[in-house]
Symmetry: C3
């Protein structure tokens, strides 16, 4: 496993300064790189490590090339180029093939010959698994679900019945797709379960992190479009629709029937209420609560940054009396206006 | 599968306007319904779809019946009636029966003949599983746990040792019940594990969403009363007690020993601190932090709705200086009072 | 199972007042204790139950001994002493031994003879499992991972490839360690996966609660030091480093590359952004958002406690106009200063 630097630069579409025959066998951080490894500079914070790096080569923007003591591959987007280099230089995951004898396969399943069904997997009746899919182990594929080609499901993934999954979808351990949504009708103080009859449709090239759950629709489908990336422990409720190439960071919850646009970025720990429409190219920062639809692209926030506890407690006490403060302010204004009028005309305060 | 409209109206306790012999075979949303399907109007937002629906019939309140171009079943609570109709018209989940040969059953278990123990389930020594229970696959039932009749456990449910579960309890994939609570004593800078010796008692008709975890008690039990509904990725800590018919939305955390009343509704992403008492009929809105006991029924909130980031940053900067603002205001008041006194008597500002 | 009170007092390093031959067979809360059980008082809230307890003995601080109607063991740290007593008096978990026939063991694994590999476990090629480890059932141990001696993994734990775990580590059901981090490069509106090539290193005596996930590093390792305790549904991102004896409560998320010091305590539902440095002995309270590095030990907060919804809505409306309020205040100050100057000199308002 290894590539000559010239070959690598060509594949990355970058410009090489240095020996094209130098062999590169691994990627590493600027600090830890040694001979035979290539590193990258994508975040200015790490520029301080550039001059001392012992990497054989560094991927970076042209602007920083002169500071680099080693061979360089200059590109416009070093992080993307690094991602490609890392793919080229790291050991590809082993694709296995066949059905482990401990797996349990239901009636009428269609499983392509190149599929790997790992130990203790359960594939229920009528499920269809296309070519190249890898089920690492102890995965559950529900009745009649369709898994597109070249998906990679890590251990303990659960797909409920009747779920449609596209191609090259990567699901990390413990992901659940197609569980019942939280649909209940209130009747005389009790909750009556509303059957969750919709499905889930996951597009191509979607990735979902460990422990995330995506519920099935109640009548229509929950839909995750192509290229959506979802981090760990994210909760997507029933009938949510997420547009293409949107990324959602960990611990975020999206309530029922909300539609998220494409190319959005949702920060960690955010909460988005139900029945909202969020347009394309919206950025939500960490721990923000979205209570209304968003019709204009832009960045939206409501996360409150930490303060020292003693200061925060005082701030909070003031916050609880904010309404009083405003009313007091109005009185002051009036009093001042009156007092001014008593003496001479003044400009009116507005606000 | 199908019901005559007259029969359906009777079962829903509603009043029919239309042909009682019209056959209904499915439920659908107003927008997507076609011939042979019945739809419903429960949320005024969707009233706009009523006049154009192609459903064979619609379940709704009497007030909207005249706007509806199709047959109608009028009821007081259309969402509940829809839930019943959907149950009647959708395919009932297949009840299987028996123990799959790949399941592993410990010593001294009692498993009723009508139970389904799916593939790769593990039922540890002395567990008792009552009639009609369905374990979909790869479920783990700990030593000595009791599962009441007609429970439905989806794939990958984990019940630890010595847990008591009532009847008709539905657990979605990845639910964990009876895990150790986070009990640790601090001693000289280290944490000493406090054995978690209590159990968990789950009542009848409880439903728990995918990925939620309910810890066992430390000494006494964690208790979830009848009819409680818990959404996905909710965390219930040790010794929490939740009253009957309370509903908890996704991503909420409830800390140790807190008691939640009955008929409460907890919004998504809420956090409730430990050792609190929340009375009955309390509503907590999304992303609210509850730090004190609540003794009066009502709605409580502290979630901050999103603003445009640039605006929010300014608000936040002001918030950090709120204490200063209040002190400044006091000075202004005093100064104004003094200045007024210099001239003439004035009313005192209070607040 | 039982210990004489004198023997127990000796093992706890406490001072006994009472009959050393009294046999103690269990621990219980002050309220529920009966003959033969020992209770404890560690939280003043429960002092009211002391005089009426029917325990045979109580562990408490010397200051409260005179109020106690029963035998007492006085110690400096009653909760820690109780934890020890509970360990001594409760049934030790049964250590099993061997490999269950339904487990699937890969090539080249090293599994010590005293290890228990429970039903439906999967141990992939080259994994090493040291003496005394217990895998309860349906655990997945990835290729080449090392599990140190005397670890206890409850059901459905997933360890990905190449993870290093220390000794006496306790993992609760559904824990995932070594899943891919959320590493993606943005390129022309799409996300390019960045291979996650680092590992995870977990120290000794770490405990991780149900449903928590710890991602592998992107290049270097994710590191959890000795004695760290992590509650349920916590998310630790790639390349995070957590110092020794830090405790993290449930539903908290820590973003990529952040370093948490040792002896920190992180409250439930907190969010800590990426690339930060949090020093030792920092306490973060519940639902706090940490957006900057913290260089000084202390307590930090930004959680907003709940108010009645009607009050909170008004507060929130005021909060949205806080910037206007501040600007208005400045005008008032100026106006008052001008008005004062018109009459006589005054002190300048600062703030």
């Amino acid at each position: 496993m290894g590539l000559a630097l010239g070959e690598l630069a060509g594949r990355l579409g970058g410009e090489l300064r240095g020996d094209p025959d130098c062999m590169i066998s691994s990627v590493a951080s600027l600090e830890r790189a040694g001979q035979g490894s290539i590193s990258f500079l994508a975040n200015r914070t790490y520029r301080k490590h550039l001059t001392a790096t012992r990497a054989s080569a560094v991927i970076l923007e042209a602007a920083f090339a002169d500071e680099c003591p080693t061979a360089t591959i200059t590109v416009a987007n070093p992080y993307a180029a690094y991602a490609r280099a890392a793919s080229l230089l790291s050991e590809a995951p082993v694709a296995r093939c066949g059905v482990h004898p401990s797996a349990v396969i239901g009636a009428g399943c269609e499983i392509a010959p190149s599929v790997w069904v790992g130990p203790h997997c359960i594939v229920d009746d009528g499920a269809v698994i296309a070519a190249g899919v890898q089920l690492a182990g102890a995965c559950f594929i529900g009745r009649g679900s369709h898994i597109g080609s070249d998906c990679m499901f890590h251990a303990h993934v659960v797909i409920a019945d009747g779920v449609e999954i596209g191609e090259r979808v990567v699901l990390h351990p413990g992901v659940v797709i197609g569980s019942d949504g939280f649909g209940m009708a209130h009747e005389q103080g009790r909750w009556l379960k509303v059957p969750q009859l919709g499905g889930v449709h996951i597009g191509n090239d979607v990735e979902v992190g460990a422990g995330s759950t995506i519920d099935r629709g109640s009548l229509d489908d929950t839909v995750i479009a192509d290229g959506v990336k979802i981090d760990n422990q994210v909760r997507v409720a029933h009938n949510v629709r997420i547009g293409a190439h949107t990324a959602i960071a960990a611990c975020t919850g999206i309530a029922g029937s909300t539609r998220l646009g494409s190319h959005c970025r949702i920060g960690g720990g955010a909460g988005i209420l139900g029945h909202l429409e969020i347009t394309d190219h919206v950025v939500i920062t960490a721990m923000t609560l979205v209570t209304k639809s968003i019709t204009r692209a832009g960045v939206y926030s409501s996360g409150v940054p930490a303060q020292e506890n003693s200061v925060w407690n005082r701030t909070n006490a003031r916050l609880r009396r904010l309404d009083r403060l405003v009313r007091k302010m109005r009185k002051l204004e009036q009093q001042l206006a009156t007092s001014a009028t008593d003496q001479e005309p003044t400009t009116t305060l507005t606000g």
